[in-house]
Symmetry: C2
Subunit: 168 residues, 2 copies
C-alpha cells in the first residue's frame, strides 16, 4: 500500500464531535495486477482473482480483486486519515455490498458519512457511531458500500463533556 496517498489527518474526533451528516473523504489508492493476485493467493485463490488468462473465461471477463481485498484497502484508506476517530477505528460489524468489480488500474477512494450517534447508557465513556461508506473508482462508480458500527470514546469529563448527574 506504499502508493496510498493519505488525506491530511484532521484532529482526531470523539463521540462528542460527531453528528449525523458529518462527511469524510479519504486519500486514494491505485490497484494493480500484482496487488490483486498477491492478496488472492494468500486469502482468495480463485481463478478470477489469481490468473488474468483464466479470468477472461469467467463471468467477470477479466481479472478482478477479491471483495475482501477491496474491503481491506477501504480500511487502510480510512485508517490513513479517511476517518479520523479518536482511539482508532474499532468496528463491531455491519453490512457490506460489492455492486461492481474492482480491476487492475482502478484508483479507489472512500467517502464516508455519519448516519447515527448513540451514547452508551451503561458506559458514559463511550458510544456507538454508525458510518456509511462508499468506495469509488476513478469514474465515480461505487465498488463497495459498507455500513459499520464503530466503538467511539467520549471526551473525558475534564475536557468539558456534560455528564448526567446521579440523582440530579
Amino acid at each position: 500500500m506504499a502508493n496510498a496517498m493519505a488525506a491530511p489527518t484532521s484532529k482526531l474526533l470523539y463521540l462528542d464531535d460527531l453528528h449525523v451528516g458529518r462527511r469524510f473523504t479519504s486519500g486514494t489508492h491505485t490497484l494493480d495486477e500484482r496487488q490483486i493476485t498477491a492478496f488472492a493467493r494468500a486469502f482468495d485463490p480463485q481463478p478470477f482473482h489469481t490468473d488474468p488468462e483464466a479470468a477472461n473465461e469467467t463471468l467477470f471477463r477479466g481479472l478482478v480483486a477479491s471483495g475482501w481485498h477491496t474491503a481491506a484497502i477501504t480500511m487502510r484508506l480510512q485508517v490513513d486519515g479517511g476517518l479520523p476517530i479518536a482511539g482508532g477505528i474499532v468496528g463491531l460489524g455491519g453490512e457490506l455490498a460489492w455492486p461492481k468489480a474492482t480491476r487492475p488500474g482502478d484508483v479507489l477512494h472512500v467517502e464516508s458519512e455519519v448516519v447515527d450517534v448513540v451514547p452508551s447508557r451503561s458506559r458514559p465513556d463511550r458510544g456507538i457511531v454508525t458510518v456509511r461508506s462508499e468506495t469509488r473508482n476513478q469514474r465515480g462508480e461505487v465498488v463497495q458500500t459498507t455500513t459499520v458500527k464503530l466503538l467511539v470514546p467520549r471526551r473525558a469529563k475534564m475536557d468539558g463533556a456534560i455528564q448526567k448527574t446521579e440523582g440530579g
Copy 2:
C-alpha cells in the same frame, strides 16, 4: 496461509444441489503474531493490530487481528473446501459481525449453513444462495459471523435439470 489445513474438497455443488439447512465445515487455520502484524501493516495499521506492547494499553489488552484479516482467513478456509460451490465463491454482499477478538495462537475454522436458495427469474442459468457462517476459535467461541449472498450457477440443461418450458 501455508498452515491452512484444507478440508477434503467435496464434489462442487450447483444451485440445484443446495437446500436450506445444508451445512459445511472448513479445515483449520492457526493464527500467529507475525501474520496478524503483517496483515495489519498492509491494511489496518493501528497499534492494537501492529504492536504487541502498545496493544496492552488499549481496550483489547493485547494484540488482536484486524476484523478484515479474520474475514480474509474465513474466505480462504471456504475456498479451500469449506464451501464447495461450482463456479467459485462469488459474493454480492451481506452482513458481518465480530463478537469477539481474534488473537495470536487462535485456531480458526468456519461452520456454514445454507439459509436461502432463490433461483433467478430472469436468468435460468443461475440463482442466489444465502449462506450464514460462523468463524470459531479453538474454544468454540464465535469470532465472526457473516450472512452473505452468493451467485451460484444451475446445472446445464443437458445435466438433467428441469427447466420451465416456454408456454408449457
